[in-house]
Amino acid sequence: MSFLARCVLLISIAFLTACLPSTIAVPSTRCKFFIAADGFYRVTSAELQTAGIAIDTIDAATLQLYRGDQPVAIRVQGAGKNLTLDFYARAGDSLHSTFTIYWLTWDAQPGMRMREIVLPEIDAPPSTAVESSIRFAPARVYAPQPGDAAPSWFWQTLDAPITATIPITLPDALPGFARLRVNVWGNTPGAHHLRVEFNDARGADEFWEGRGAHEFEIAIEPRAEVNTLQLRAPGDPRALADVILLSSLEITYTRRLLAQNDQLEFETRAGNFRVAGFRGDAIELYDITAPDEPQRVANAIITPGAITFRTDDPGARRWLTLDPSIARRVSKIAPMLLTNLRARENQADYLILAHPDLATAAQPLAQWRAQRGLATRVITTEEIYDEFNFGAASPDAIRVFLDFVQREWRAPAPRFVLLLGKASYDARDVLNAPNKNLVPTFLVDTLNAEKIASEHAFVARAENDPRPVIALGRIPAQTPDQVARVVRKIIAYETGAPADWRARALLVADDKSPEFVAMADTLAGQLPAHIHAQKIYLAELGGDVKRARAELIARWNAGAGALVYIGHGAVDTWAAGPLFSAAHLGALKNDDRLPIVFTPTCLDGFFNHPRADSLVEELLFKADGGTVAGIAPTGVSFADAQGELMRALFAELFHAPRPTLGEALARAKQKLAPGSRAQREVIATFVLLGDPALAPR
């Protein structure tokens, strides 16, 4: 076989490998329901058919619903095209998605069904009121707190002196006393004072100390419909400041048993009860005390617009009564993908884990890497969730998958993992901000900031050793167009002719600490002889940021292979002034003279902000220049620990044989000391925004 023929064959094999689908083209026997709120749901055969599920061919007796790995009882009525499926769902509080996933499977053993129960007969005039609890906890304010279990979202900030007036509707409240439980979070370290007034009646003066959760309960006298709660934070004179975050309110009150929009959820103890207020007579009653196993009451007495029943259970039982025609509809139904991700004969050198909307745009990069000799796979996050996490979005699912790949797939294990998609700390889309959580990341607490994006857990050596075992990068794109732009840059960078600009390293240092200049000088000293260091030190320019910026932009436009900024920084800013920020991107016209940017600073790679893009992201996605990749911190860390990483990274990058960018970063992190908190934080929060297989030139 000629050399040319061998090349064609190899390229063809590589191309086919890259295009090999992860999913198998056989009918799926699973689908998932996207649930946005608690309630009673009904799914019809028409909805299932619309989602591509051939309900006609399914044995309805084998239908089984799950929430995670927990079976959920359903009620199936009819068959074929007239089939309906009822269940009770809880939305939960997923940290990673707006939706909770319930998934349906079939063609196995008979599924779990709702039981029908018979209650004792009525033996006394029924009660028409019960004690009921209602909870208000809208998440509106992002104020991350330290601690794994600590909340990040709150209802409202109460920054004393302030009075917050909150209208509260208590449906069908009866006159009399009720209990109000107030859940707050002390956000300042000193004393706190909160005065609660309900319908103009002074309820309580609550005093407490310190940061953290605090709750208290007061007696209130609610009115039938709209009530007014006033939370007055006067400011405790002992405290320098008093900042309180309101978490939730819970009111336990006596209410009439009247259906609201033909349904009512309520709690009882033993007795006879009557719920009125329905518009029709098609009324059903369910015992939802165990919400995954609701029980349908077979013998409740239905009268026009009302239902009456008796329970002898002295303990608390929760009930749902409704007209089933008003049952909720699931937000979305999607078949669960049948993948071969668990097949042990799988092998890949280079994995692209992409949001489904970006998977097609990833193919050119996969093909490019395949042509360079890497066995490549593009896998969607949806496939991973379906195969490893019962369909639910979570960074843990990606971590579990990558762990499985390393242990179970055929050797050699993957060298590179590229995450393709933006992340956002607003995973539940509370703010409805432009940046969505397409490919989630982990959030960690650091010494200087809370809930900072961290990718290390995806590829960490062990739970207590954050050093990576695979080269990891992320292209935090939101659109296929952004992916295409970065892929074009990567290919242009790797195929571009040798040029003088590639042998230039631009080192920029802030003047606020001698450490910054010292680090820049050290890194310059690590460069091999053929790479020329160009220094722009603010201190040497007398702190003249305008001059420094002009010089930086001029040299950037002329071209440099590496660009290092050392100093104080923020999400889209280098140094006070600012020396350079997202506002100056328009001045960059470096076209395909694309440097790799290194920013030992703070927050410069904060890629999970719902409203803003970090400077390193903006440079990566800039069409007519910018950078080809960046290594930057997502959080706030110490300069000396950052210096350790940079020295190790330069030692890897600039000495033969030159590794890929991702491998150089992984090896540099492996050299740091996980026992040092500062260095552990640097390992956890420095990320590669770009392709980990990029070959620096």
Partner: protein, 274 residues
């Protein structure tokens, strides 16, 4: 023997304290907090604008004024400007402005800024930058009529921060005894403070939410050229850096020496007691 063991233990503890001290002294969190700080003079007022790049444990700011850079006074009868997100982590920062009215023409006024961290459990911190500006002498035919005479002596009037989540949003707390709230000046005529997020500022002109403020800003932009801030300290950054390094080194040496001498004295004392 026991005492010798104790002495060794003491020496180890002293060494640990020394090492921790050195480690902390070296720790520089590379976060920029104040990204811009400028002052611009008008015919009767000086507008001070500052932008934070990020805020974490920040309750607010004290803005101070001086004519000689030696004696500083808080601006106004109010102690401070509240942060837009008091004591709440905000990685994107915000922009604030303050109009110092009633300044005398021809006098150069210096301003400095202090971040108030103590209420949030952090330290208060002066920013390095000192800026200055002066009021321009009024022309014979003023182009605008001002709301207040430059010689008026009314107290500060503060406009609230627009906030969707507050029903009442007083910005300042005159009854609160803040760490360095020693403001006494009553010579400032009318001042406006407002805060907008950096992003909102980029999207919407700063003068859009308050007609009175809009008028004033438009006037300043039309009839007063920008008076470049004098970064009196930042021009000496190199010298300052070395001065800092020297002070740090001296402090470390002094600390180490004190601990070693202390440890030796203790060992000697224990030996003598034997």
């Amino acid at each position: 023997m026991l005492d010798l063991f104790r002495a060794k233990k003491f020496a180890r503890i002293a060494l640990a304290i020394l090492l921790i001290g050195i480690a902390n002294a070296r720790a520089v969190a590379a976060e920029v907090t104040l990204v811009a700080f400028s002052a611009r003079g008008d015919t009767s007022a000086i507008k001070i604008v500052w932008t934070t790049a990020s805020e974490r444990k920040n309750w607010g700011f004290n803005l101070e004024r001086s004519t000689d850079q030696k004696t500083w006074e808080h601006l106004g009868a109010q102690p401070s400007v509240k942060s837009q997100s008091p004591c709440i982590q905000n990685v994107m920062g915000a922009t604030y402005e303050f109009t110092d009215l009633g300044r005398a023409p021809g006098v150069r006024y210096f301003y400095r800024l202090q971040t108030i961290g103590q209420p949030c459990g952090d330290a208060d911190r002066y920013h390095d930058e000192i800026i200055s500006a002066q009021v321009i002498a009024p022309t014979a035919t003023p182009t605008v009529t001002r709301a207040a005479s430059p010689t008026a002596t009314a107290p500060i009037i503060v406009s609230p921060i627009p906030s969707a989540t507050r029903s009442v949003a007083p910005m300042l707390t005159p009854t609160r005894a803040l760490p360095s709230a020693t403001a006494t000046s009553t010579k400032i005529a009318i001042a406006q403070i407002r805060a907008t997020s950096t992003r909102a500022l980029a999207a919407t002109p700063i003068a859009s939410s308050s007609p009175m403020l809009a008028h004033r800003i438009a006037t300043e932009e039309s009839d007063a050229p920008a008076d470049d801030a004098i970064p009196t300290q930042s021009q000496n950054n190199v010298a300052r850096d070395w001065r800092r390094a020297g002070i740090l080194g001296a402090a470390m040496l002094f600390g180490a020496g004190t601990l070693i001498v202390g440890a030796l004295a203790l060992i000697a004392y224990l030996r003598l007691r034997e």
